[in-house]
């Protein structure tokens, strides 16, 4: 225990270095600050990808390290987006409404301004009254706090209920999926007060910064996302490196034994579940202002499953694996579904990637699960000469695919 935290985890330094080089590189090639080789829309894509990498890190913590396959983390991600979206939308609309009302012969009362904003925001869904959930929408500080508090609270309540009644394994996965479905169905309703299917839109326009072009705004968000990813990564690495990390890995491999050793398994799980939900919320709050719109379809259960897919393809139980998985799969998906990939003409049939990419993704996913449970991250083991412990008999834990670094170094 005499080696420093960084010293024990050299991969952190390498990761941060790569991220820094990448960020600086993109900055110098952007339209705003550099040569303009990267279009603003691609900067946005890259910024969003970094946010996805951050939520993938959170997913890796809870799944790869604690063995809880949560199919709800994208819901927390979306909730974070909704929280920041409410402020962005309220504030931008307030500016518009106020400036137009100030032109009227009689200055508006506060109530009239609020009514005007309500009318603007909810006119789309045929209403004009502010629902109760918008109570703090006028305050940036409070909404920023809600970005972590709302997902955190939901995760805490849900986790407390679930872990306490010892729901584990696939049951927990299904239960988290049900939670995600319930949340997205709830948000789909207009009664939820978040504009139903329409969601919150126009989020890329920052209030008070109308004059600043999106070229710059996109770069700010790109930097913000890179910083958040760096901090999130270091935080996650710190969490899993100490005794806490050993305990949660223990829980993953044999929950009953850890419990018999006297650890409060439920407490550890609940803490990790809540913290990762908060990280997901922050990632969402950075993602959706770049995407420009958030609506309940984003939260649908399938999104959370894709999150698990990224982490699995990248490699569970190693943080950089999650980042690689998220970046690689989402960028490649963008490439193929964007219609940029050339069609392959087989003579009797033309393969259009737009149609066949999903099938390829699904099948490659099956193959990764069957033949390369360590994902892309496993390639690094080949480079660094690490190898998976050669165990005899049955798998020790439920997670055959994850690498136990300690064991590998012995």
């Amino acid at each position: 225990m005499n080696r420093s935290f960084i010293g024990r985890n050299p991969s952190i330094l390498i990761f941060l270095l790569v991220l820094a080089i990448f960020t600086i590189g993109v900055t110098f090639m952007s339209e705003a600050f550099g040569a303009g080789m990267i279009s603003t829309s691609f900067v946005k894509t890259l910024g969003k990808t970094l946010c996805l990498a951050l939520v993938a890190v959170a997913m890796d913590l809870i799944w790869g390290y604690a063995g809880i396959l949560s199919l709800g983390h994208f819901a927390f991600f979306g909730l974070g987006g909704y929280m920041i979206g409410m402020w962005l939308m309220y504030e931008r609309t307030r500016e518009i409404v106020e400036s137009s009302m100030m032109e009227a012969p009689i200055p508006p009362t506060e109530q009239e301004i609020v009514d005007g904003i309500g009318n603007q925001i909810f006119g789309v869904v045929g209403s004009s009254e502010f629902p109760a959930v918008w109570a703090f929408a006028d305050s940036l500080v409070l909404q920023l706090a809600l970005v972590v508090l709302v997902p955190g609270l939901l995760a805490f309540v849900f986790g407390w209920l679930a872990f306490r009644s010892r729901v584990t394994g696939v049951y927990l996965s299904i239960l988290t999926q049900a939670m995600t479905l319930a949340l997205s169905l709830y948000l789909f309703q207009n009664d939820s007060g978040l504009r139903g299917n329409n969601g919150l839109s126009g989020l890329q326009n920052l209030p008070g910064l109308d004059d600043v072009s999106q070229d710059y705004v996109s770069m700010w968000f790109f930097w913000g996302s890179a910083l958040a990813l760096a901090l999130g990564y270091v935080f996650a690495a710190w969490i899993v490196s100490g005794k806490f990390g050993s305990v949660i890995r223990g829980i993953r491999d044999n929950e009953a034994r850890v419990r018999f050793l006297g650890y409060s398994v439920e407490g550890y799980k609940l803490f990790l579940f809540t913290v990762t939900a908060m990280i997901a919320g922050i990632a969402g709050a950075l993602y959706y202002p770049q995407a420009g719109i958030i609506n309940p379809a984003e939260i649908a259960p399938i999104a959370s499953i894709y999150l698990a897919v990224w982490v699995a393809i990248g490699g569970r139980g190693r943080l950089y694996g999650a980042v690689i998985g998220a970046v690689f799969v989402s960028l490649v998906s963008t490439y193929f579904t964007g219609g940029q990939a050339p069609d392959i003409n087989l003579g009797f049939y033309t393969i259009q990637w737009v149609d066949w990419w999903t099938i390829l993704l699904g099948l490659s996913f099956v193959l990764v699960t069957l033949f390369a449970p360590q994902g892309i991250g496993g390639l690094f083991d080949l480079v660094s000469g690490r190898h998976h412990p050669d165990r005899h008999g049955a798998d020790l834990g439920p997670d055959h695919g994850s690498l136990r670094e300690e064991e590998a170094e012995e």
């Binding site: 012969p105 729901v167 696939v170 996965s173 309703q189 449970p373």
Partner: protein
């Protein structure tokens, strides 16, 4: 004198022109048959074809007393009446060749000739006009020898009767040979008596006779009798001759105070918008009533400015809230029946009271049936899962896609075999075969490598799920495909006007019961079932006893998948076949199995029943929002699982595993 002469001359000229016009008209119509003349008289209305104006034209034809009247109306209603463009004459036309129409004259019934379609203009009565024609046809058709036409006439009366038709209807009852039609005629007669009979006693008698009847038509007849309007009497003197239902208290939900005040015709209340508009109109030198405009962002200052304007006499005073409340207090509000006769309204109210109790009970029954039906659909979707997940413990996220494959198999079979009954009979075993094969393939290729890693099974089968879904989209497109049920499954079983259930749903219910029995039989009575149970409990020991666990797992998984395929055909029959059909059921199916208790078919049955009942129950509370029912149902299930993590029926002892 001169003036008079002028008038006479003018009159003469006018007459002459008129006569001339008349002449021309008669000359043109002289050689036409009498019916054609009637039609020509109303040609504009007939061509315009609007329900609001068509009345006179229909009446003219119906009351023409001509033999052809019935034919014309029937042809018109069937949209077979055409106007020849060159001379504007109307004919019955029938398409006898490619775009060639054969015209028949209404008066003579003789075929006039054949013309191409561009020489004709079809008269298209909309359904509003068609039902007016239907009513006009009633008196012709009530005693028609053709049963179908009499049926038609009664249907028209059921939709829309009128007072004049009451007597013809009564006269036709005795001569009605068909018992079913006779019964319907008698029923319509009772209902029309309630509405149209001038005799009070006859009406009350009819009302009392129909009391307690569940038919929508009865309520539709009685409710207008007891419909009320709210009227206000500012001084409290209510005329004695009004048929008053009750006094209405202002401030109740029925009549909010603001609405009550509006009925009073007093000086209007001033809303905040009106107030601002008034202030805006009275800005003088940047001030309103002496208060600077810049201060008017404060509501209190606005009130003060308004007060100052009133004091200055610029605008009239407005009623205060107290004054308005007082005015409302002083007035009397009563709900008045449109029907002037108190005896009738009293009888109708009594009858409706009886009906309402009855309807309430039956609605509950109907809700129960709906819940049962929904439960059986969930059960059917989940039963395959109860085998793969419940018995084998394999999480199969592609289960929904097996349902989809079954449904598409049904669709493809229907494309090849057009007979719906035959195609369903072929589709069911075929769907089983297809999904059985798919299930076996999946078990052999993927799942058997992952038996110790349930979470990874989940992910791998999810990969298969998205691949299969996209494959279905590539093959069949994203649009819904029809899977039509045979006619004998098309209708519904109607107990009364409140309780009914479509036959497809009953079929699904029966199918669910059959599968329950099949499942029980296989698990409890066959060698496969025995082996499956043995392998599930302890594969090593089962292997030692000479059972081949691999083979048993494969067959069991295939069986579960195959049942999902059959469920797909059934679900496709009642809903639609899309590539996302499985997605709609997968989470609910897992919920059903988990809520019921894994590994126990009775638990799955209970789970499906509970979810169905819950869903319908929530929907009943909030009928305008179906999404809410689904949301709250899932939340309920999440909470339920907290308290019974192993489901309703939890396995105990060794069978419980872990």
């Amino acid at each position: 004198m001169l003036k008079r002469l002028l008038v006479i001359v003018l009159a003469a000229v006018c007459l002459a022109t008129l006569a001339k016009a008349q002449d021309a008209a008669t000359q043109a119509t002289d050689d036409l048959g009498p019916m054609q003349q009637v039609l020509q008289e109303h040609a504009d209305l007939i061509v315009e074809s609007s329900r609001r104006t068509i009345g006179p034209a229909i009446d003219a034809v119906a009351n023409s007393g001509l033999e052809a009247a019935q034919t014309v109306l029937e042809v018109w209603q069937a949209r077979d009446m055409y106007q020849r463009i060159e001379d504007g004459l109307f004919f019955a036309a029938e398409e006898t060749g490619d775009d060639i129409f054969t015209l028949t004259d209404f008066d003579t019934g003789v075929v006039v000739g054949e013309v191409p379609d561009d020489a004709l203009e079809q008269i298209k009565p909309n359904s509003g006009i068609r039902s007016l024609i239907g009513t006009a046809l009633v008196s012709f058709q009530l005693n028609d020898p053709d049963r179908a036409k009499r049926d038609e006439a009664i249907s028209s009366l059921e939709r829309r009767g009128n007072a004049e038709l009451l007597t013809p209807l009564r006269n036709s009852i005795d001569g009605e040979p068909d018992p079913a039609l006779k019964e319907r005629k008698m029923r319509v007669e009772r209902l029309m008596t309630i509405t149209y009979d001038p005799d009070e006693d006859a009406r009350i008698e009819a009302i009392e006779e129909m009391a307690g009847d569940l038919g929508v038509d009865v309520r539709a007849t009685l409710n207008p009798l007891v419909a009320t309007t709210i009227r206000v009497f500012p001084d409290g003197n209510v005329p004695a001759d009004l048929n008053i239902a009750r006094e209405v208290e202002p401030g109740s939900e029925e009549l909010p105070v603001a609405e009550a005040y509006e009925m009073l015709d007093g000086p209007p209340m001033v809303s905040s918008d009106d107030l601002r508009a008034t202030l805006q109109d009275n800005i003088v030198d940047g001030r309103v009533g002496g208060i600077p405009v810049a201060e008017l962002f404060d509501p209190e200052r606005r009130e003060a400015a308004y007060g100052a304007l009133v004091d200055a006499g610029t605008i009239p005073p407005r009623p205060t809230a107290e004054e308005a409340a007082q005015a409302v207090e002083d007035a009397t509000f009563v709900a008045v029946y449109a029907e002037p006769n108190p005896a009738i309204t009293a009888a109708a109210n009594r009858a409706l009271g009886k009906i309402d109790t009855n309807v309430g009970l039956n609605q509950f029954l109907d809700l129960g049936l709906d819940a049962l039906s929904l439960g059986s659909i969930y059960f059917l979707a989940a039963i395959g899962l109860a085998i793969t997940f419940g018995v084998m413990g394999v999480i199969n996220m592609a289960h929904g896609e097996f349902i989809m494959m079954g449904a598409y198999t049904g669709y493809v079979v229907q494309q090849i075999i057009p007979n719906h009954t035959a195609s369903i009979i072929v589709a069911i075993p075929l769907a089983f075969a297809v999904t059985f094969a798919a299930g076996v393939a999946m078990e052999r290729l993927v799942i058997r490598w992952l038996y110790n890693r349930p979470l990874e099974t989940l992910l791998a089968t999810f990969g298969i799920s998205i691949a299969l879904q996209q494959l279905a989209k590539n093959i069949f497109g994203t649009q819904a495909r029809p899977l039509t049920s045979p006619d004998w499954l098309g209708g519904s079983v109607v107990l009364n006007d409140v309780v009914s259930i479509s036959t497809v749903r009953i079929a699904i219910f029966v199918l669910a019961l059959v599968f329950l029995c099949v499942f029980l039989f296989i698990m409890k009575r066959t060698r496969l079932g025995l082996e499956t149970r043995a392998v599930t409990q302890n594969p090593g020991m089962a292997g030692a006893m000479g059972i081949n666990p691999g083979r048993v797992n494969m067959l069991t998984f295939g069986l579960g998948s195959g049942i999902a395929g059959i469920a797909g055909v059934a679900i496709g029959l009642y809903a639609q076949v899309t590539s996302e059909i499985g997605q709609a059921y997968i989470v609910q199916s897992f919920m059903t199995v988990v809520v019921g208790g894994v590994g126990n078919i009775w638990g799955t049955l209970l789970g499906a029943g509970l979810i169905g009942a819950l869903h319908k129950g929530i929907e009943w509370f909030n009928p305008s929002n179906t999404l809410a029912a689904q949301t709250y149902m899932i939340i309920f299930i999440i909470i339920f699982i907290q308290f019974r993590p192993r489901g309703i029926i939890a396995l105990k002892g060794r069978a419980a595993g872990d």
